[in-house]
């Protein structure tokens, strides 16, 4: 994904990636929250971490932000330690449950945050961009959940960060609030900011990211453009009767992503079911061929849930 503008390529050579994780593990006691993640995010990308609760999204984000230390592995943000990147205002985040002080007003909270950075955008301007200029003098304790989330967004914009990290930023918002929030983020991302957000909503990842990283059990199970991941998730299953087949051979079929053998019945999952069907009918004695489509949502669940270990899909990289 070459998202660096051509003219800037010379400069980009010496520019470290926005995020670089290598072999990152994070365990809490016996629970492996992050189980070996390698990831490079280039400057300018808009990346979604997609996965169900417990997939390791928040744990990975905590590591990227320096809020927690990986059990093993390396993390760097713009080539430096996360804490350094935060101190320099290079990275900012909107967390799922970041705390706010109820006894300050919206504007005071923003001024408080702005004063901590060496360089900050004007508070009034940022409140305006986050759509909360009208409630600047309201106490935070009297703001709705959506308004508080916009305030957190405004706080994240203050240092004019190069990388903006959002951890399930719309949790608990109603449809209206969610739409407004994403409109603000999208508008902001058009300025070329690198954005990484976590979500468990397929539609959110689809609509706002140009790269989707699917997480399951603390591992990356798919990584590609929205179209690639959607194709993967929206693939079809080819079912046929074929005696004596083995899974290894079936996976070698052109276009096959995964395969399963149940007695004489074979199930081949593929994003190119036509190729698989053609092969089975022309090169094998397979009979009773049947092609079924999985819904997008079903496929997503299948990709990220527990019982698909026998058919883990190949990830387009």
């Amino acid at each position: 994904m070459g998202l660096v503008p051509d003219g800037a390529q010379a400069a980009a050579r010496s520019l470290p990636p926005a995020i670089e994780l290598s072999g990152v593990h994070k365990s809490f006691g016996s629970v492996q929250a992050v189980n070996g993640i390698d990831l490079t995010v280039a400057s300018g990308e808009i990346v979604a971490f997609l996965g169900p609760n417990g997939a390791g999204k928040t744990s990975t984000i905590d590591v990227i932000l320096g809020l927690s230390q990986p059990t093993s592995g390396q993390v760097s943000v713009y080539g430096m330690h996360p804490r350094q990147a935060i101190s320099r205002g290079l990275v900012a985040a909107v967390m799922q449950t970041g705390g706010l002080l109820k006894d300050l007003t919206v504007a005071e909270t923003a001024r408080y945050t702005a004063s901590l950075f060496a360089r900050s955008q004007p508070v009034a301007e940022v409140l305006d961009r986050a759509g909360i200029a009208a409630i600047a003098d309201r106490r935070v304790g009297k703001c709705s959940g959506g308004e508080q989330q916009r305030l957190r967004f405004a706080m994240a914009l203050l240092p004019d960060p190069e990388l903006l990290v959002l951890d399930e930023p719309t949790t608990g918002m109603d449809v209206e609030g969610r739409r407004g929030f994403w409109a603000a983020i999208r508008q902001d991302a058009e300025l070329g900011r690198t954005v990484l957000f976590a979500t468990h909503y397929l539609e959110e990842a689809d609509a706002y990211a140009d790269r989707i990283i699917l997480l399951r059990h603390g591992q990356i199970v798919a990584d590609g453009t929205s179209t690639q991941v959607k194709a993967l998730a929206a693939g079809r299953t080819v079912r046929a009767t074929l005696a004596g087949a083995d899974e290894m051979t079936l996976r070698g079929i052109p276009g096959a992503d995964s395969a399963e053998v149940r007695g004489d019945t074979i199930l081949v999952h593929s994003s190119d079911s036509d190729a698989v069907a053609r092969y089975l009918l022309t090169s094998t004695p397979a009979t009773d061929l049947e092609i079924t489509t999985r819904g997008l949502e079903d496929a997503f669940i299948a990709l990220t849930s527990d019982d698909t270990d026998s058919s883990s899909p190949g990830a387009p990289r």
């Binding site: 935060i86 290079l90 967390m95 705390g99 006894d103 300050l104 950075f117 706080m155």
Partner: protein, 267 residues
């Protein structure tokens, strides 16, 4: 992909971390404003000691009796200033408890503010409230015209009280890190009243039974109370007073640092 911002390595180099770990006058001002906005805090730390002085410090039966270089009213005024100042600094320190419970401490870790700068900010804020408390009691003392002592003793006693209250800023921080709850303030009110009685701030220790007097000498406000009255009373400074204050400072500060380290340890 058109991009209005094309980041270069040179841009990264222009990004700097703030000095002093992020500590600055704006944030201190806002922290003080938060404390003052809390009506409970103001009533407890500023109004209560003033009222106590008005009740106990003006009694005609003893107020004008000479005491050291001044009179009894001046002695009681210094006691009440100390009570207010330690309440103020303990409350200010214990604010970390509310901020931790609210998740604000975590939010601050997404800013350049360093943990050490945060603690220093909390101590400075607590000390501003402590100063307000001392000034309020002394101002009311001046208005009533009852307390009498040389001008230099007003200044020296006031400073002793204010600087001494730093011990309790450490106490507040320790409790704040130990008890991450919104209710820590109610708990503090009771604890501080008990410590004030035990330290002899409200009733002279000589009025207590012998056993209680002995126990009182080991409580945290005893040494401080004796020390802040020393300039007014003249006489020598007992080593036991200094030892008491120093020991409790070490315990509170040590406890606060221990809990603080545990809190900021990256999990």
């Amino acid at each position: 992909m058109s991009s209005t911002r094309s980041l270069t390595a040179a841009d990264l180099a222009t990004r700097q971390a703030p000095g002093l770990g992020g500590l600055n006058p704006t944030v201190l001002g806002l922290e003080v404003r938060r404390l003052v906005r809390n009506r409970r805090t103001v009533i407890f730390a500023v109004i209560a000691p003033v009222v106590l002085f008005l009740v106990f410090g003006l009694n005609k039966a003893y107020a004008n009796d000479p005491d050291g270089h001044g009179n009894v009213s001046a002695f009681i005024m210094v006691s009440m200033a100390l009570y207010g100042a330690v309440l103020a600094t303990t409350t200010g320190g214990a604010m970390v408890s509310i901020e931790r419970a609210a998740g604000w401490s975590r939010q601050l870790r997404l800013t350049p503010l360093s943990p050490t700068a945060y603690i220093i900010m909390k101590i400075l804020t607590a000390m501003v409230l402590g100063l307000a408390s001392v000034l309020a009691v002394f101002a009311v003392g001046i208005i009533t015209g009852k307390p009498s002592m040389p001008v230099y003793l007003w200044i020296v006693s006031g400073l002793c009280v204010w600087i001494g209250s730093l011990v309790f800023a450490a106490f507040g921080l320790f409790l704040g890190y130990l008890l991450p709850t919104e209710n820590v303030m109610q708990f503090l009110g009771i604890v501080m009243a008990l410590l004030a009685f035990a330290g002899g701030l409200f009733i002279p220790l000589s009025h207590y039974p012998q056993l209680l007097q002995t126990i009182a000498k080991f409580t945290p406000l005893y040494g401080l109370n004796q020390l802040v009255h020393a300039p007014l009373l003249g006489g020598s400074i007992h080593l036991a007073w200094v030892a008491n204050a120093a020991a409790w400072l070490a315990i509170f500060a040590g406890g606060a640092i221990w809990r603080f380290r545990k809190d900021t340890a990256r999990v």
